[in-house]
Amino acid sequence: MGTVDVEAVWRIESARIVAALTRFTGDFGLAEDAAQEAVAEALVSWPRAAPTDPAGWLMATARRRAIDAIRRRTALKDRYALLAADPAIDDDIDPDKIDDDVLALMFVSCHPVLSREARVALTLRVVGGLSSEQIARAFLVPVPTVQARITRAKKTIAAAGVPFEVPPVGERRERLAAVLSVLYVIFTEGSTATSGDRLLRPDVAYEAIRLARTLAALQPDEPEVHGLLALCELTAARFPARTAPDGSPVLLADQDRRRWDYSAIRRGLAALVKASAHGLGPYGLQASIAAAHASARSVEETDWDRIVVLYEALGRVAPSPVVELNRAVAVAMASGPAPALAIVDELIATDRLPGSYLVPTVRGELLARLGRRPEARAELELAARLCANQRERSVLLHKAAALD
């Protein structure tokens, strides 16, 4: 009785506490340090005597630590004297302001002055409330690496004089795109692990979904936020069917669709409706493609013509060779392998995806469907050599061997 889990409270409160403290002190790095000190104190003192209001305790303690730090600084620089002399600032959080402050926190954590790795680490730490250990585990990097990234990021933000604010209207779109891209990087790490021997890491993907939901609640009028959320929900809905019991990947065509998470699909489709208000952006288009799959009972019953159109639209708003390759796959399903092979060969001729195992994977599949088996086999073997994920590599070799 009476035990309070520090980590659980911190997960719920971290963004609000760091946001409020940054507003209070004007110093993001100091706010984050003070909040971490409060967590460290809670880990020591709560098991002995649990506070009746754990969230309030964390906020008050972090605030005290922030004031201590300012006092130390004042002694050195004789600044902030007024602030430090008046620690009786209202503890009540104004709900309207705190929402803007949490939003500002997301924008600061994803600021363009930071490296991509730093943005990811900082966002998970200050907005998501994850510890360095948890972030290290999520991205399969050593704990000191994460700590160094966060320390450096805070210095960079201070040195660049990044203001703690929701960006002005003129910059808003571009800065929001940066936030969305950080969340998508986190999601992708969970949905197609770039390293390690596991195909999926749902815990990592979950963090991205959670952050995307927060962002959607705070920026409800931004269609692409809902587009990203829809894309994440609809993609994660397929997780239960994406791996076989032995951990090997199961391709979309072979997935047992009864195992898809239909409540996640429903949430994804609802988010997609909100994303579609004024024409779809890149995330909304990708979500629409995921929705076309999610709404089909089988590969055969999938509306491939619609998917081709969506890939064409995506290729216009966010051109990329990966989109072209996916369009080729959709064209193969809608119109047969020959026109699809032409798209892939064009990609190869222009060398737009050098070294990617995906190009020979798709080319191999198309050649196999055209009955050109020896060529297909050579392509799949090439794909296996280029593929870094062990699980996927063995699937490719298996397919190549079946073409003998």
Binding site: D5, A8, D99, P202, R210, A212, T214, A217, D261
Partner: protein, 128 residues
């Protein structure tokens, strides 16, 4: 991460107390839901009507028997739920503590198992 259902359990007394301060309770509940939405953990929530207006379908006999609610011997009545998508059981418990509830009521915290945790039929598995 896991889904947890926070199940509200009340008695006749807590239900009466709830109705006495229903406006305030509705407002605090809306605030609680808003907090969970902004924390990115909200999935669903529903509150149920007066148990006296419900019926019970009883499978004790050969065929189901329908009787008017409430529930005979049952002391604690299911009044509604919140479905949350959280990182841990501890976090679900922490949210449960914040649910606006009248004194004397209880909240049961139950996990929704993942698809692959549901026990497979031992007869069919292992044969293929």
């Amino acid at each position: 991460m896991s889904k947890y259902m926070l199940i509200m359990r009340g008695t006749d007394e807590t239900n009466a107390a709830m109705m006495a301060s229903i406006d305030e309770l509705m407002a605090t509940t809306r605030q609680f839901i808003e907090d969970t939405v902004k924390a990115g953990v909200f999935l669903a929530a529903e509150g149920l009507d007066d148990p006296g207006k419900g019926v019970v379908v009883d499978f004790s006999g050969e065929t189901p028997v329908v009787t008017d609610g409430p529930y005979g011997e049952t002391k604690e009545l299911f009044g509604g739920f919140f479905l949350l998508d959280v990182a841990s059981k501890e976090e679900a418990v922490e949210w449960a503590k914040r649910v606006p509830a009248v004194r004397g009521s209880k909240i049961e915290v139950r996990r929704v198992p993942e698809d692959d945790e549901v026990p497979q039929d031992s007869e069919s598995s292992g044969r293929v």
